[in-house]
């Protein structure tokens, strides 16, 4: 069996753009004025925590469009994203920082693509999880502490599992590529 490479369609591109927008959800939050020093990893962790909050809200919206097992997985993944946000927030607090708080779901909803059916919801989910994988792998390169890198590596693995679950829910092979960077 040959690896399946996702096709880039206009709809996919729009969904991908929405996922990229979500990835920058922390961008409008005010920067910390005191607390962790530069180079501590707090800023990068803050971006990841904000992204995880947005992802949890996105999975709430995605789940509303899914049925059966896929709907159950959406609930599981949403809970995982919330746990990721909490875990990263704890790391920020250890540095003396104040992690970003999640916003009400309706505040994120305008950034989601239109999801009229299950296929569109799964496409957005795929784009979102790819962005999450990429964000966490990229973050590894700037985090200075072992505990930070370990936590983010563990979260990246869970995001890859979530992405595989989206593939499987879409009827595609769960494992498609030997190197999963989140930018396929």
């Amino acid at each position: 069996m040959r690896p399946v490479r996702p096709r880039l369609t206009r709809r996919a591109a729009l969904g991908g753009a929405a996922a990229v927008t979500l990835a920058s959800c922390g961008g409008s939050d005010p920067p910390p004025t005191d607390g962790p020093e530069a180079g501590s990893g707090a800023a990068m962790l803050g971006s990841l925590a904000a992204f995880e909050h947005a992802a949890a809200a996105a999975w709430g919206a995605i789940g509303e469009r899914l049925r059966g097992d896929a709907r159950g997985y959406a609930r599981t993944i949403r809970a995982r994203e919330e746990r990721h946000a909490e875990r990263i927030s704890a790391l920020i607090r250890e540095l003396g920082g104040e992690p970003p708080e999640g916003r009400p779901p309706e505040d994120y909803a305008a950034q989601f693509p239109l999801m009229r059916n299950e296929d569109e919801a799964l496409r957005f989910a795929s784009d979102l999880e790819e962005q999450l994988v990429r964000a966490h792998l990229d973050a590894l390169q700037t985090l200075p502490r072992e505990d930070q890198r370990r936590a983010v590596a563990e979260i990246a693995a869970e995001e890859a599992e979530d992405l595989a679950t989206v593939y499987a829910s879409s009827g595609e092979p769960a494992a498609q590529l030997p190197f999963v960077t989140g930018s396929q």
Partner: protein, 167 residues
């Protein structure tokens, strides 16, 4: 078919192999990058050998087995390249052949056995990603780790389990 004793035996074999390959997190922190890459290579070679044997014995659905085997070959190739780039001409890592027996007795049994080994490999990568000195290796090693995490999901599907482990 009772799989209890078979599963215990398979897990014991995996644990024995893991013992030879594993290091504590503290010890891992003291290892050189080359040591860490060699450890990962041994794990990947073991997985490659595992899928080769499973395909020979029809213990895995052929399409899935071929895909996972091809991925493992790519992982081995990538790690060997990284080692060569660090002056390791002939990687020391070796892997014993998979044990004959219960792990290959049925497709679900093999899937469960492979889940354990893939999970162990993912954990090893996480330890390395936390401690390795060369930041240039973080993305390539991370992308192998995430591939391994997806293997676990594919194998859970093969075993008839929920795709995501409970929290």
């Amino acid at each position: 078919m009772s799989t209890g004793p078979s599963r215990r035996k398979a897990l014991a074999l995996a644990a024995g192999a893991a013992l030879a390959l594993s290091r504590s997190a503290a010890a891992a922190a003291q290892l050189s990058d080359v040591d860490q890459l060699e450890r990962l290579l041994a794990l990947e070679q073991r997985l490659q050998s595992l899928y080769e044997t499973a395909l020979e014995r029809d213990a895995v659905e052929p399409g899935l087995g071929e895909t996972l085997l091809e991925h493992e070959r790519e992982h081995v190739r990538g790690l060997e390249m990284a080692l060569r780039a660090r002056g390791r001409r002939s990687p020391r890592a070796t892997v014993p052949p998979p044990q004959v027996g219960t792990a290959f007795a049925s497709r679900p049994a093999f899937a469960r056995f492979a889940i354990d080994l893939e999970t162990e490999a993912v954990g090893a990568y996480q330890g390395v990603l936390a401690t390795i000195r060369s930041t240039r290796l973080l993305l390539p090693l991370g992308s192998i780790m995430t591939s391994g995490a997806q293997h676990v999901v594919a194998l859970r599907q093969e075993a008839g389990h929920d795709l995501l482990a409970p929290a």
